[in-house]
Symmetry: C2
Subunit: 264 residues, 2 copies
């Protein structure tokens, strides 16, 4: 795993740990055994990671290989299969947004030369659905990666325009201090979200990674509800919110308008 | 579906059609009911698309929603869930390659101002794992999209360096004429692949979309086997292979070297 990556196992949606009882749970226990730091797993290790006996795991794997959800290499190691990637690319909360957003993100990337992030909220975390400017800065964000919403610019931009119930769920799940600068109290977060609404953008000043700063703005769907967060991220010294704020807000307005015009 | 998109149902990996007999097959029948043109499906339509009775489909959907693989909106329509996107982003044949390739693709995009494609072979088709330059030209390629390998620049660049068994599998599955210019005979394809090996790059002159041209080069993994195809695509009039060939080959060499240095 790249340093600083937030593991989905720490988050809300982990399903495959322990000894799963449903049939679907058993298939998912095998798929969930893989993580960003573990691309290939041997059968013996899969039995450990799933908590299922080898006599159960082996036929599950054979079925998953048969359907292209797993691949087995010449050394007998298992990896997630390309069919899973194809299915994942059809997920509308990612695909509709990303396909409309990509040209706008490319413009923002070209105008600012910083890294551009697009993320959606899933429960209490953000999931990154698009990233451009890979070489700019060595932070661990990756497409498909998950991060606690309160500790990121995109997450705070989304939470500021989310329902009270959504904000409450984040607070009740805890506000882990990802860095020493993360806003880790309920009062602090509620005040911060009020401030974000008053200026129309969110700042992340070392809250997700020390030394890294981010300016983020909210994106709304055709139903006028909050849909995503768009941000510019770079080394703290190179991020001037007075300069980059108008750029990221312009792009977020453009994306919102484009989604509305397309009825998406 | 966007015009010209090749549907996975026409390809090799379709599993959900008919009345699936295995448990995994039934879950996949539900997930495979979605396609690029069908983001949201009502329960009644799912029973038609899966060939399963409503009394079976309903509990399958409830389980899939519980695991985040499906999402159900306020109108009761189902869509593929964000958890599926997260899993798909962990697929190493996509992720490892894309994360290493993205900065190089951004450079190629900036230097040429054309659309840049990165694809891998899956069976007899290519699957696009990365695309930049979304606004350049209105062709239907999309990340996660599938296309017959013999009818694309990236696919021919990969086939030219693949095993004889792989080329044979493509020929035996048929060589559909996607356009009037597609190379649709076995002899034609074998001669074309020989030519590609002699010059180190593949051209697509209206073979995937009339009026669209493409210059592609092969990318090799650390094991020295063919790993992917990298290409530049644009309106036929703007693609000069003499000019763009060296650019795409340079980027493909760089990507090959980067993969080798990283042992990937």
């Amino acid at each position: 795993m790249r340093s600083g990556e937030w593991n989905a196992r720490d988050g809300a949606s982990e399903t495959g740990v322990g000894s799963p009882r449903t049939v679907l749970g058993r298939y998912l226990a095998v798929l969930n055994a893989f993580d960003p730091g573990t691309a290939r797993i041997a059968l013996a290790q899969l039995t450990v990671r799933t908590g299922l006996p080898k006599s159960t795991v082996h036929p599950l794997c054979a079925e998953l290989v048969g359907e292209g959800l797993l691949e087995r290499d010449e050394e007998g190691m298992y990896a997630l299969g390309i069919r899973l990637f194809e299915l994942g690319e059809l997920v509308p909360r990612h695909r509709t947004l990303s396909s409309v957003a990509l040209p706008i993100m490319e413009d923002l990337r070209e105008a600012t030369r910083q890294r551009v992030h697009l993320a959606v909220l899933d429960g209490i975390d953000v999931v990154y659905v698009g990233i451009l400017g890979a070489g700019v800065i060595d932070v661990a964000s990756r497409v498909g990666g998950r991060f606690p919403a309160h500790a990121t610019g995109v997450g705070k931009a989304i939470l500021a325009y989310s329902s009270a119930a959504t904000v409450k769920a984040r607070i009740e799940a805890g506000l882990p201090a990802v860095t020493s600068r993360t806003i880790a109290t309920a009062d602090g977060l509620i005040g911060e979200l009020r401030k974000i609404r008053s200026v129309g953008m969110a700042l992340d000043l070392g809250e997700s990674h020390l030394g890294v700063a981010c300016v983020a703005a909210p994106v709304f769907g055709a139903d006028r509800r909050i849909r995503a967060g768009l941000s510019i991220t770079g080394p703290a010294a190179s991020i001037d919110p007075g300069v980059l704020g108008p750029a990221v807000r312009t792009a977020a307005f453009t994306l919102t308008r484009t989604l509305r015009d397309a009825g998406l």
